[in-house]
């Protein structure tokens, strides 16, 4: 019962946390570029403004996809905080991700189409990495249950350092930060403008932004599993991880999806196998 309550609480708090993180992200990014940047609450203002706009959409399918994407992200957050199975969570978030691609494919716009294809490449890259991370977690703790992993007596980071690295790479791809901002990027200065999001506007774009906040919370939650023993350790780990994301975002140019499939995926797979082999031997 408490686990379900916890999940419901997370459902309500996750967007707030996600929005705040997005706001902080923008501030720190600006600082690193020696700009002032927007107020920390700017993401909330933006989304509020999007919801205030007149809904205009190309077709119903696109709207449906936006809702499913949000649902997928929200349900996976709920499952995570309710302590459910990692594998179940994995498939639920995959459904959401795939529906984002469907939504983009539902319009004939070439930007949206190319964005969708690139998003598929990104899913193809991070999903295997994610599942390997989950396998590693299960191997180290003996269970796929989030609740069980959470109550593991010692920090998992010590056993799974390489897998954590892989997870953060997957996280960068999932969050579409430079150098992996192919399918859509946080600023529109990109050859396909906003890729998967080009054809979304108004409240539906707001829904997608909301879903994105849920996703941020989810990935940070998964990261938190690696240091679940103390609150301080957990917070430090998350702060360092997110700061590293911002840092990488600001020190690299955007690369191409061919590079991602060639180098990033291979490196990720290699690191995961190394860590898994080490787990089996240890």
């Amino acid at each position: 019962m408490t686990s379900i309550l916890l999940g419901i609480l997370a459902l309500i708090l996750a967007p707030l946390a996600g929005g705040l993180i997005a706001g902080l992200d923008r501030r720190v990014t600006a600082r690193v570029q020696s700009r002032f940047g927007p107020p920390i609450l700017q993401p909330f203002y933006d989304v509020a403004k999007l919801f205030g706009k007149e809904p205009r959409m190309g077709n119903v399918w696109q709207i449906f996809c936006a809702y499913i994407y949000l649902l997928g992200a929200a349900v996976s957050v709920f499952l995570f905080f309710a302590g459910a199975d990692l594998l179940l969570l994995f498939f639920v978030q995959a459904i959401g991700a795939v529906f984002l691609v469907f939504g983009a494919l539902a319009r004939p716009s070439p930007y949206s189409q190319i964005g969708a294809q690139r998003e598929l490449m990104q899913i193809l890259t991070y999903e295997p990495l994610l599942i390997l991370v989950f396998v590693g977690l299960a191997k180290a703790t003996g269970s796929f249950k989030v609740a069980a992993i959470w109550s593991h007596p010692e920090p998992l980071l010590l056993q799974l350092p390489l897998l954590y690295l892989v997870l953060t790479t997957a996280l960068t791809i999932k969050l579409r930060k430079s150098p992996f901002d192919f399918s859509t990027s946080h600023h529109g200065h990109q050859e396909i403008v906003k890729g998967v999001l080009t054809e979304y506007s108004g409240p539906y774009l707001g829904l997608i932004e909301l879903a994105h906040w849920y996703e941020v919370v989810l990935v940070l939650g998964i990261c938190a599993l690696f240091w679940s023993t103390s609150l301080v350790g957990l917070l430090v780990l998350l702060a360092v991880t997110y700061a590293a994301e911002i840092f990488v975002d600001n020190t690299m140019a955007r690369l191409t999806w061919r590079w991602m499939l060639g180098s990033a995926l291979l490196a990720g797979l290699a690191l995961s196998f190394l860590n898994l082999v080490w787990l089996y031997l240890a």
């Binding site: 990014t29 570029q33 070439p110 190319i114 200065h189 050859e191 600001n250 140019a253 690369l255």
Partner: protein
């Protein structure tokens, strides 16, 4: 992936200006590119019919918002030749100083836009931060930031005093230090190299035949710089063109980066050798005749063809801007390039569409 046609521009966030490219893609590889211009044609050449030849100085400055000074310099230089007068030595040196400052701020602007074109936002800010120092020099010494309006037919309108010269010197030292710090993260960076090396390659023969100008030409190993024609103060200053041989986007990046450092040296040399004397000579006659005059703009060779018949208004002002010459090479670069690299390749010629259409 199927064959897709991507409309690239005229309103595209990567492009600072309205250029339309119809890209035929196959599997995200460009097969064919067709340009369309004409979105910012202002007919500035035509204005010569209603503005006299002195007023045209301010009009040709507005051909390009980045290298305005150099347009006016070229125009004045041509008219002076036609009128049979020469600008005083001090004026020629001052023109050189300001035009090199313009080249620097233009190149820094381009470095920023280029970084932005490949999704390197923090580098964009970094370049523009440095550029702002040059803009301050412009504003403090000429009165305006971009369209500085210091040229008149016969000389210049503003002077630099010793205090200003010293101040410019100190700013240049700062800029030089910051530029040197920029080399590693911008030129030698892994991701930047990944995005630029081997992209949009043209050989020396190809670019020459396609009539390219400026850094696009020099990045392929052709040592052609109009400053070698010794206009303004270049007859007395030492000048060697910056040349790279690879012919790809990275080479164009390197050429512009090294030209920045070269410009600092030119400004310093010109400030050291700045002769005393008049700022301008009086113009008494009306121009008559035909003149072709060329200078080196940040983007390459700029050509003015002026025709006059002893009236207050010129008969014809024809402006060939460097981007105009660089569009055919761009069309040759694009086929075979990945869609993700299109912004990089397009920006590598430093397109100035307003210049192109005038």
């Amino acid at each position: 992936m199927a064959r897709t046609i991507i409309p690239f521009g005229p309103q595209h966030p990567v492009l600072p200006e309205p250029l339309h490219l119809k890209l035929v893609l196959e599997d995200e590889i460009v097969q064919e590119a067709l340009p369309a211009v004409g979105y910012v044609h202002r007919g500035l050449e035509k204005l010569t019919e209603i503005r006299d030849f002195n007023q045209m100085v301010q009009i040709v400055e507005r051909v390009c918002g980045i290298c305005s000074m150099i347009h006016a310099q070229c125009y004045c230089q041509g008219l002076e030749e036609m009128l049979g007068i020469t600008a005083p030595p001090r004026a020629r040196y001052l023109r050189t100083i300001w035009s090199e400052l313009h080249r620097m701020h233009s190149h820094l602007l381009w470095l920023g836009l280029f970084a932005d074109g490949m999704g390197f936002e923090s580098q964009f800010m970094q370049c523009w931060k440095i550029r702002e120092r040059i803009m301050d020099v412009n504003e403090a010494t000429t009165g305006n930031r971009v369209i500085v309006s210091v040229n008149v037919v016969g000389g210049v309108r503003r002077d630099l005093n010793d205090g200003q010269l010293r101040w410019i010197g100190s700013i240049l030292d700062q800029v030089e230090a910051e530029l040197k710090a920029l080399k590693k993260p911008l030129i030698d960076d892994y991701t930047v190299k990944k995005r630029t090396v081997g992209k949009g390659v043209l050989t020396a023969e190809q670019v020459y035949e396609l009539g390219a100008a400026g850094p696009t030409l020099r990045a392929s190993g052709v040592a052609q710089d109009m400053r070698m024609t010794r206009y303004a103060a270049f007859d007395e200053l030492v000048f060697t063109p910056v040349v790279e041989t690879e012919g790809d986007c990275h080479a164009r990046l390197k050429v512009r980066y090294r030209e920045l450092l070269a410009s600092i040296d030119i400004v310093r040399a010109a400030m050291r050798a700045l002769p005393e004397g008049e700022l301008a000579v009086a113009v008494k006659d009306k121009p008559a005749g035909e003149i072709v005059t060329r200078v080196e703009q940040p983007r390459g060779e700029l050509l003015y063809y002026l025709k006059a018949s002893g009236k207050k208004n010129l008969d014809r002002v024809r402006i060939r801007t460097p981007t105009f010459a660089n569009i055919p090479p761009l069309l040759a670069m694009l086929p075979g390039v990945e869609l993700a690299d299109v912004p990089v390749v397009v920006l590598s010629i430093d397109p100035c569409i307003s210049c192109t259409e005038r």
